[in-house]
Symmetry: C2
Subunit: 408 residues, 2 copies
């Protein structure tokens, strides 16, 4: 099975989806900040939401929408500039109002629309601006406007994140497209992010949710920029069946699942690459763990260690910090069995530690690898067969600057 | 019971302890880096060590020393500039050698000395420098040199940390003194730090260990600078009985315990105030939790959140991040019950959130509090009676600078 990566692909690349975005005045910058995705045909839909105990109004609302019915979803209303989080009961009323007003303008029922918000926490949603913006955005729906939605949901992102792939399944050709945003508060579960994925395949709602959950677990839930989990994290998947290709047999389902994971994985990596202040993309690969959870705990602890991440920012192969972080992951380790390798796309693998003891590696070679924009860190625990991978960034001055001044 | 805080107090303030320090060439700066604490009389001793699974050679050695006998300890050999961590079997041999050489020079047995190291990980201890330095330091022992030891164990610390208190127990007067180092890799369990506490009270070894463990749990294990736990963290407590005051009854034990916790608490707060790049000292107070562990998890998650800490650095009362961090602590919360207050020594308490909804607080007043060097954040979960306190710092550009370039 091969994927054809579409130029300028996005959520409107699959047949039957259109989108629009306007500058509704929610962002102080005057950039696009209010958007709509719409399907003329009913979609099955799935969603994965933040596991934070403090959740924004749109998360509460979307959970209710999907619980009430996943077979007649028509679209999504999304805004940036205001997260509608920690806004109390009034926040939920506001989210419902924007859902209802958008439905009136688009010609569907309120409960056929999902809602996404991202931005500052604790500030009431400015409903006058939302109402006016929705009227404008509803008139501009177009199958070529998917990237505008990707732009409208950006916050501290420096670039819109979107792609689409055409896939030939045994049953016929389909397209999967996606957009995402997020560059700070990025951590499972979930990364702080909004993700929207669409497909013109026909997928029953229960299967769709299953496939989405599995994909997210291996992609969006394997990235970390700063260890903070948001109140708003949401990934939605809509399938409108417009390709008339349905997932009828296990082989086709597996093909679709693989393509979906590819799309989610690419979007997740785009988020890490655009991490707040990030200058490096780092893969943490942990092998030899006694079980998958242990492997994940070690990978996650290394991926979020401020000392590891500042060493990465400085290009300093201070590998002791990697071992020290692994040691505090809450997982039994045998330090005499630890081995550590680093590599980059342009440099061969270099072993720094073998059986708990530093090798006689060349410091210059190690520094050359840590100076690269893409780094692989491979820690082998030598205790079992389980492994895990996390994608993370360095921690830079710019991260501090961006987040010290975010609201101002 | 009252404490008399001694001017220039330290580990040599209690009767019968002397210390010395030299510049042994372990620090590139040429500053003091090798030190000895010595007691002419045998001491009972206790120790609390890092819970990191990857531990430095001195931690392994000290655990062995204390397991073998806690009643005849005579002193401590400490160095900065090299952590003797991740150095394999050779590291343990080196630690034993410095212990043995120091014992020969001081006139005691090797197993009567404890060893502390802090500094870079993964580099062999330079034994020639250590041997030469030990010869020099052994000649300079003096009861007025405790602060020199505090200076010798500094790494990125900007100031030595030391104090001593005289306490009148029912049985008579005693003194407790302490020194500590640490300003990065500060997090339970333990904070990255070395701490040495001495007393001239007579305390049986089993009781001494019990009292130290309890004190550390409420002091050194309640501070966080960056969430990273070190391979070397150690707090040692030596009691030589030179005051001839012994802890014979529960009331006296309780008085001593309180004084010990005061000394440990002051040292712990000194570490936070001197946190790498820190410009603010922040107390996170969580109340209304269903149990102590839940209270601690929430306090710890807020205290280590990069987004909370960068908001503190920017003086931005972006309280949504505090609630969002609490929400990902892995503890059941009811967001509609959360209340949040902030205060500073110079500003009255200001309620920002009540029952999950923002109050109509003055943004200027909130910003004025967050601009202070000392801030109290009080989060009430309104679910039960348990509470917890953590002491932390902001996350600044200087933290990144210090840690991106630490080895160079």
């Amino acid at each position: 099975m091969s994927y054809i990566l579409l130029a300028d692909g996005s959520i409107t690349s699959p047949v039957g989806f259109s989108a629009a975005a306007v500058a509704g005045g929610l962002k102080q910058s005057g950039a696009l900040d209010l958007a709509v995705l719409y399907s003329e045909a009913d979609c099955t839909a799935g969603g994965v939401f933040t596991r934070n105990q403090v959740v924004a109004a749109p998360v509460t609302l979307d959970r209710q929408v999907l619980d009430a019915g996943r077979n007649q979803i028509r679209g999504i209303v999304a805004n940036a500039g205001n997260a509608n989080a920690c806004t109390g009961e009034a926040g939920l009323v506001a989210a419902r109002q924007s859902q209802r007003e958008a439905a009136g303008l688009l010609g569907c029922r309120a409960e056929q629309l999902l809602v996404l918000s991202t931005g500052v926490i604790g500030v009431p949603l400015p409903m006058k601006k939302i109402s006016a913006g929705l009227k404008a955005v509803a008139k501009q729906l177009d199958p070529s406007h998917g990237i505008l939605l990707a732009k409208a949901i950006m916050t501290t992102d420096t670039k819109p994140k979107h792609l689409a792939v055409k896939v030939r399944l045994s049953q016929g050709g389909i397209t999967i497209g996606g957009v995402a945003k997020g560059s700070g508060m990025i951590h499972p579960n979930m990364a702080t992010m909004l993700g929207v994925v669409t497909t013109d395949a026909a997928v029953p709602a229960v299967l769709l949710q299953e496939l989405l959950s599995a994909s997210v677990e291996r992609t969006f839930n394997r990235i970390s920029v700063d260890g903070d989990t948001s109140t708003n994290d949401t990934v939605l998947l809509l399938a409108n069946g417009a390709s008339h290709v349905s997932l009828d047999d296990p082989a086709t389902i597996a093909q679709f699942a693989k393509a979906l994971e590819f799309v989610c994985g690419e979007l997740a990596k785009m988020i890490v690459r655009d991490g707040e202040g990030a200058t490096k993309f780092v893969e943490i690969h942990v092998t030899g763990a006694t079980n998958a959870q242990a492997a994940h705990s070690v990978a996650e602890t290394v991926a979020t260690s401020p000392l590891v991440k500042t060493a990465l920012a400085g290009g300093d192969p201070n590998w002791g910090r990697i071992l020290a972080a692994a040691g505090r992951a809450g997982v039994p380790l045998d330090q005499a069995r630890l081995s550590l390798d680093i590599a980059s796309p342009s440099h061969r693998q270099l072993q720094l530690v073998k059986a708990g003891t530093p090798t006689t590696y060349s410091e210059a070679e190690a520094a050359a690898i840590f100076a690269q924009p893409e780094i692989l860190i491979h820690l082998d625990l030598s205790l079992g067969q389980a492994e895990d991978t996390m994608w993370t960034t360095d921690l830079t001055h710019d991260y501090v600057t961006i987040n010290a001044d975010y609201r101002t």
